[in-house]
Symmetry: C2
Amino acid sequence: MHKARVLAGTLRNSHVGETVTLKGWVQKRRDLGGLIFIDVRDRSGIVQIVFNPEVSTEALQIAERVRSEYVLEVTGKVVERDPSTVNPKMETGEIEVVVDEITILNKAKNPPFQIQDETDVAEDLRLKYRYLDLRREPMQKTFKLRHQTSQVMRNFLNEEEFLDMETPMLTKSTPEGARDYLVPSRVHEGHFYALPQSPQLFKQLLMVSGFEKYYQFARCFRDEDLRADRQPEFTQIDIETSFMTSDEIMAMTERMMKRVMKEVKGIDIEIPLARMPYDEAMERFGSDKPDSRFGMELVTVSEAVKDSGFKVFSSAVESGGKVSAINVKGKASQFSRKDIDQLTDFVKIYGAKGLAWLKAEGDELKGPISKFLSEKEVEELRNLLDISDGDLILLVADKTNVVFDSLGALRLKLGKELQLIDESTFNFLWVTEWPLFEYDEEAGRYSAAHHPFTMPASEDMDKLDTNPGEVKAQAYDLVLNGYELGGGSLRIYQKEIQHKMFEVLGFSQEEAQSQFGFLLEALEYGAPPHGGIALGFDRLIMLLAGRTNLRDTILFPKTASAACLLTEAPGTVSESQLDELSLKLQVKEQV
Amino acid sequence: MHKARVLAGTLRNSHVGETVTLKGWVQKRRDLGGLIFIDVRDRSGIVQIVFNPEVSTEALQIAERVRSEYVLEVTGKVVERDPSTVNPKMETGEIEVVVDEITILNKAKNPPFQIQDETDVAEDLRLKYRYLDLRREPMQKTFKLRHQTSQVMRNFLNEEEFLDMETPMLTKSTPEGARDYLVPSRVHEGHFYALPQSPQLFKQLLMVSGFEKYYQFARCFRDEDLRADRQPEFTQIDIETSFMTSDEIMAMTERMMKRVMKEVKGIDIEIPLARMPYDEAMERFGSDKPDSRFGMELVTVSEAVKDSGFKVFSSAVESGGKVSAINVKGKASQFSRKDIDQLTDFVKIYGAKGLAWLKAEGDELKGPISKFLSEKEVEELRNLLDISDGDLILLVADKTNVVFDSLGALRLKLGKELQLIDESTFNFLWVTEWPLFEYDEEAGRYSAAHHPFTMPASEDMDKLDTNPGEVKAQAYDLVLNGYELGGGSLRIYQKEIQHKMFEVLGFSQEEAQSQFGFLLEALEYGAPPHGGIALGFDRLIMLLAGRTNLRDTILFPKTASAACLLTEAPGTVSESQLDELSLKLQVKEQV
């Protein structure tokens, strides 16, 4: 007989006396004084059930065969626990269920690791047995939070009259951007689809179509070498609007994030959010995604030290570079020479040739370079860096980007190690006034800093011809706690500007036409002013869930080599499958 | 200056006197008596704006340059229309906006076809300029309905505590089922991902993970030759549950569909929905997805005619086939011999060797075969088919499946042509008690009728060994107006049964292990009883929107040869892209 089921985690004192049926997994079993106690787990939580020979010897006998992770159906009566056995740590800890009927719905082998909150099991094993790893409470919570967050965002966007719209996955390969995943066509021999890196062009076409407000939780694909915070497929909240200014788009995004923070985390954030121009972010944080939860900002000291006798400083400034410093407040005594040597090795990873340092002792600055500094120079440094007794000053002199990269990374490293970061805060920040182009020294040409459809700042239009490197973009990135949550821009909606853009990027007319002809043509048929934003959903969940590994926010993630340890994808395919696709393997080496 | 915008379609009499700013497209322009009238269209609808030299000659001069589909920003005053020019067909027809400022935001070339509700433009042209096609009102409405429907379903599923969960797109190729789209791996030479035909295995693994209630609007892929109602990528509402019976899953689906019909179409449907066993559906409708909106059901007349002198009848029955008939009530006089010859040609498409017919004239049945029928046989036919004067009886005698296929198709054809179908009704129906296997005569083996994870009926477990062809599945399909909306089943959750299933399907132990080893292993670690359903979202939208072409429900659909006429996907890729994937083209012929 099929009985209505009650969820384990919902049972309370108020249920005492009721007969209930539970279905779930065995969290653990204990035998005690002729009784058997089992913690039964289902999606709602855990409740303790008891087998008592005075109630049913038959049930007790079955319970004796039960092991961890068995799937059970039990029926019994909810009773108050003896006061001495009440467990205040369990939400159901005041009651237990005395079982008179039990069915083993399925058995379980001894799992390769225990299903418990904290685990130090190797990640590879967790990924191979992902279905067991996902049973752990922190994982269950993360994916409930993921569900809830997407609902909050969808509700917000629906209320704002956005339409949830689905763009194609089988689309066209465009060499701009990251590497595409390709999908061979069977019908069109020698032709390939590409999986989308983002729905960028389609969402722009939807604006040309007059839909005005689009959103999608879009799966995107990039065949790049993976880092800890990258996956070959990821989800972004993709938004596009017509007729809105960038201020309006940012304000809408802020309202959405405020709603998420309130409903998911119970935290009120103040909007409008702070904004910081790109140049300022680099100067102050050495990063285009500043972690503004702590200070220890970079300070440019080029002017103060450029005439010092220390050659490294003067020549860095002379050759167009700079000298910047951070003040590790009051920590001079914590850093031995050896410690500083290690920091020096660290900044070298980022291309810095060295790390200069000074320790404030009373009124003096001491350290290997102090002898090169005049009194006036010391005074200027003291003022610029707000130095007081016991401070440690770390300086890098180099090309500007090396100074930013190395000191920016050092600031983050020390911020974490010295526990300067309040992990409970969520600091949002807009980075604005981005450069439109990056100069690729190797290729000797400009590439798009965001993507080639980004609208240049109106006041910089003239510079597209004369000085592309100085053109700003109408683009904005949303940063949270030092992570880039996402970014957006106004898009080019006039054909002439789009053509000019391709020209600066070094596309020939033919290349532009063959790759983006349909977009250029669409711009001729009444394209409205439009713009949007895309937020990385996996990363947002990672931050909201307080995790540090992106893989913990994706149900079935890939490893760093883009493999699925559970299904063993990618796998081999048959000769005939390749034949149908008119393909032949040319394997260079065995993997 | 940036002005707050009002939506065109929302303006009413109550706005008279207000100064408003509109942004939108030129639907049409008329010059009349020195004035210019423009219908401005945005996502909300259309409003008429007027340029009057007495208000602004400057605006009028700009308006003279405006053409269809230009994008405008205008500011002006809402005024009541002269009673003689009120347009009751427009929601905004009582007012117009007298413009004093106009900006042309973007120009438009003359579109290749007019943006109007009805169009007889070739579909290829519509697909090439999809962004213009999508501007048409019926398309805008369809995608708003699609948005709304997904919201209603999501709200329902969220309320029922399902979790929206994302499964991978880059997964493993499994030869079972339709042909996979493959994605070559760059990192793992000679290895391939496959795009999912459905999230079937992952949703089952999520049940093993203890999530219990999963849903996803899942993109699925099948590399099959396309028909009018197939696309290489499609969306399904994918649902899986643990611990629910098939009755509970069907009831939950019914509540969801009831909500959709009510909120999207304003129609109350009665639940529980009708259920019909597969065998009955075949007998009565010659189809596993009966269109129950009209009668003219198939009637088995084998017994009545098996001993008649008409050899075709008797030998069909003798050789294990059957004779079935439909009664085209009162239409005998409408069908000439030539008409019936055409029907005969039609049933031959489905493998029938011929079509016998009889016309009821008074008490007699007339036709070429009447001479073979005894009085008693005529009497039995009259009773079985409820024949009265003027009826046309059409009979097919053949192998059972040919009789069902051909007469089932003929019934649908005549139902449409004779307008027996009330197009305003929505007839839902469950088809249940499916066979678990189909016998593939060519391959000489059984294949899974649904998929190899479908649970056999408990009372048929013994027959898995002895008579697989007679085993029923715990499966259910939801049919709407003769379309399969989707289907589901309980799944196998015991390893032994899954092994047996693979055995019947002719898998060796090694094959089963290499393809589905991870599933078989997962079943050993405490897999709960589970089951679910998947509904075709594109097809549902097609039916709700009253369309007949699946492409009208997908924003950027592919053609019958799986091409995108807009972006020209699939396209060629560079030699170096293939090199990176260790692939070489072996093109057999030029396309």
